[in-house]
Subunit: 337 residues, 4 copies
């Protein structure tokens, strides 16, 4: 059997605890040596449940440990950048949840630290590991259906997140559309210009802090293709995640998954299940696969599939969308930086 | 049995001959008394095939005939407006193919003539009569799934039309997207602003006269909803006609029809049929139903389901899209007129 | 244009009037010269509606007319055989609705008369002309997915027919499964043995005369394949018509058609339309195509696609199924004759 | 947290190792204290991989251990019955893979021992835990679509198993259809009579020992419903697992799952993925859930969802099917015992 990579997880909240569980249960490539959370009792509970030996409150303790090769950062967004800098300086490889940060200068400093240290960095855009989206990309990138012409992404959450999260999230383009920006880049390539429209059609409370619950963002790609993303914070039938890449000689699209394959027929017609409720269900295998691949890259010294520039680009696109929305005009990505 | 309405058809080319055949074979509400085409032999051939008694070259001959109650205009676009004026002046009801004209002033003159004469006018936006699109509208307008938030229309032709047609068609937004603008209004309501992007990704010859083969147009509706239309001139798998109206408490969407329901399974997976090749197949029942309903409106003196303002609005939106595309900025519909 | 075949229709009830209408409106290959019904007023009404010149009460009047080349027989089942004999003796080609008769000796006499006269005979197994079932057959008979192994036909009516019809219909295997027996032969080939089970699970009144509302018939084909047909008299979601031919290297199946392609999503999941209500909707194009092809065969002197032996074989299978059901044992087709 | 049940696994071959892995990784309700295999090195390898402390060669060693509450038996079929007797005598609860045995007298002895000891027994009919089949059952058993009339199960393996397995498996009705017999009982209830047809259409080597690769079995249920199961050893497009319960007021059916939701459109039509390759993929969550529920029943002293009589009934049906096939007649289940 091949070597197992020693890894620690910083931040054991919602997303972090999923990673911890996945690493322990489903990623034989990993050896999870420690978990860390500033709320020590949260980390301890996860560690107890899963039989993890070491629990720390301060991530600096991990940095001094020479046997730890990699750190998975799943703490709150505002801490990502400085932790990354420290981890990079300690010479450890980094898997960091998205977004890298909400401030571009912080991202740039962190990426510079990563470059300087020569460590690997992978950003947690989990959807790239979805088997259906990967199959779309495989079909498109093979060239068999010609050049991409139109991208359409439908990406709708099942319910409005808690207002306390929304108030600090960066807003819809930075907390939600950011995933779709990354997916658009993954499927079709670099984006040069965006135009964003939207409104508050579902949850009036969002008006208090200028956020949206509904939007459409159009995209101009460097290769001439065009695209549209549509987002809603509330799809009552479940987590709606579809995309299509229409090409010159065909099309490739990913339909929604379903909760089950049962169909009921009655005098009203036919009735089938909702789509999986939310990202934890729909993308469960992706959270495993992204970390597994990261560990492979560390172990075999290969470039990570989603690097720091990918993480930065999605944030830039989020800002471009906000600028476009506020000024009601197309915004070149180069205007943001 | 109820009274049959006496009607004549002006223009017996591609679209006109379809109407003639439908009226004779499938619309018992009609009594087709004459056909007219400036290419007399074309009209004669259609008349011979279908046993129509009267064939004329000049539509003025029809106007003098007091027994004719209604005229269906399916001649070339540049003749629609002046024929409408003459027909209205003669006191006959009008079914006119889309677009009413490519010039707004001509449309306005024709509509004024119609108003003055007090005759009925219906515009040939056939897609409004599609059973699946009607079902979407029925669901949405019932209010059962809440207010409309996002409209998405995918509308792609199976092949690039002949270049001679393209050179005089008014371009992609006026010959193709115009149907989608009307559908958007039918499903969600008035549009206040559009933004259009696109390119020539498939047929380079279009560059010669500044037309497009690929576009996306985003829409802001008066009721706050947003929308996106995507168009291509060439979907190699058939005539792709889908739409979705996503609402606050659900969604309603119309999938493509299929050529047949047969599925083949083999080691590569499952394989099913293309979508119907083009509008003549996909919308065949709509061409019958639109004329049948028009004749009912004439017979029972009811307002037509698609009036002159609907016909005008779609042309205005086409110009707004062109302006938006050329100036790369959102354009208010009110800028056009 | 090619020659039009002069045809007359005997029997203008439910099925006959559909054929008359189709011939007049949709089959340019035909010249319908007369209609006939012992209820003269029924024939007259149809003729008036469609502008047919000649109306007779007694089909013998048609036989004497030398210009009539073909007769479509859509009168009641008990009259098919003797009319066929007379029409054959008059040297005219025959399209006869199914079943040819409910008595095998009558069928044999009629087929002998057809043979002796050397006229063409086509039996009205409309489903063979369904585009999806034809596509299945095309895939299977091409050999690309290997030899047929398992046939499954699901064939369920939307509602129990009127009891007065049921009492004289020959019962479920002869009025309903007969179509599926023919389809089984069309798709996979000759059937050697059947076994039938079933019951009265929906409509207790059927017990009065020993009919069924639910059945399954298994089939052994001469080529070694096996099959199962399942039937119900009452599928509340519409006319359920599906089949699958599973083969050694793949499968080919025909799904149901749908009333429309609209899907509604709400918190309960997704909801789509019923299947078309009954045979007149689902198989409307087949009723046109079967007669069109018959007329082509007459005009071009080709063998008809469904001949007298096909018509006889389905009745034999119906009797074999009844025998099997009553004796609760597999019955060889050769036991019936 | 609730008490974890101490369990040991006997037999760590293909199926057994899956259970071991599931128990360790995914069933927090369990405390796996030992694994056992007569091939000690096989058990040791699994134990090493998963960090299991105790490994034994002879299952009797486990019986003496008072802390072990339950034993999962996944050894070869011919050992199930005597191990069950010993385990029951030791007062431990039993989860036993299907079939309980291939000889009814051995099954009866084992079930008697279970009864005498008063221990719980669950049989490994994994498919009952499939979410889609459970949803079908939920719809049907709720009564909302009326009484069951027709059951149809399509169950086809993707490839012929190794001949060495086939020679001792009991043959198609006992190694393959047995699952469908259990599913039929789960969905509709007790079966009174079966009739089986089939043949060797794919793998001629099966003729050497009288097995089949293709079959259809019809079922008469005690409640009057009828059913058909169709099986093939080789569906080249994957593991085909579908069922429908057609009822008096509607239908409930479970479609296949798919490997991904990606669809490719090209000039030939639309192309989608195979179905999951085999039971390990398709039913992966069921193998977890069946053991989890068993442990809950042990912990909370509840009756198991699939008891010894269920395990016996499926074997009886397998023998009835073989008898029916060999004698080519319907066979009452009561003829077998």
């Amino acid at each position: 059997m091949t070597r197992r990579v020693k890894i620690a997880v910083v931040g054991t909240g919602r997303m972090g605890s999923v990673h911890v569980r996945n690493i322990v249960k489903q990623i034989p490539e990993a050896d999870l040596v420690a978990v860390c959370d500033i709320r020590l009792e949260v980390a301890q509970a996860v560690a107890d449940e899963l039989g993890i030996q070491r629990v720390v409150k301060d991530y600096h303790e991990l940095l001094a440990n020479p046997e730890i090769e990699a750190i998975l950062i799943a703490s709150s967004t505002d801490t990502h950048a400085f932790i990354m800098k420290d981890v990079a300086a300690a010479g450890k490889h980094i898997f960091c949840e998205k977004p890298l940060a909400l401030e571009l200068d912080k991202i740039d400093e962190a990426l510079e630290a990563v470059d300087t240290a020569g460590v690997k960095l992978q950003v947690g855009f989990n959807r790239r590991f979805d088997k259906s989206f990967q199959k779309v990309r495989e079909i498109v990138s093979s060239g068999e259906i010609g050049r991409p012409c139109i991208l359409h992404i439908t990406s709708r959450d099942p319910e409005v997140p808690p207002m306390e999260f929304m108030r600090v999230s960066g807003g819809m383009f930075l907390d939600m559309t950011i995933h779709d920006f990354d997916m658009a880049r993954f499927q079709v390539g670099e984006i040069e210009e965006v135009y964003a429209i939207g409104g508050v059609l579902i949850e009036p409370e969002l008006n208090e802090f200028g956020d949206l619950d509904t939007n459409i963002v159009t995209l101009k790609f460097a290769n001439g293709a065009v695209g549209a993303i549509d987002n809603s914070r509330k799809a009552v039938y479940g987590y709606d995640q579809r995309l299509e890449v229409f090409c010159a000689n065909g099309t490739a699209l990913a339909e929604n998954e379903t909760e089950n394959t049962t169909v009921k027929g009655n005098p009203d017609g036919f009735h089938s299940s909702r789509v999986p409720h939310f990202f934890m269900n729909r993308y469960a295998p992706c959270y495993v696969e992204e970390v597994r691949q990261f560990l492979e890259c560390v172990r075999d010294d290969k470039p990570t599939p989603i690097n720091g520039q990918d993480g930065r680009a999605a944030v830039v696109l989020g800002y471009a969308a906000w600028k476009s929305f506020h000024e009601n005009r197309p915004v070149k990505v180069s205007e943001i930086g």
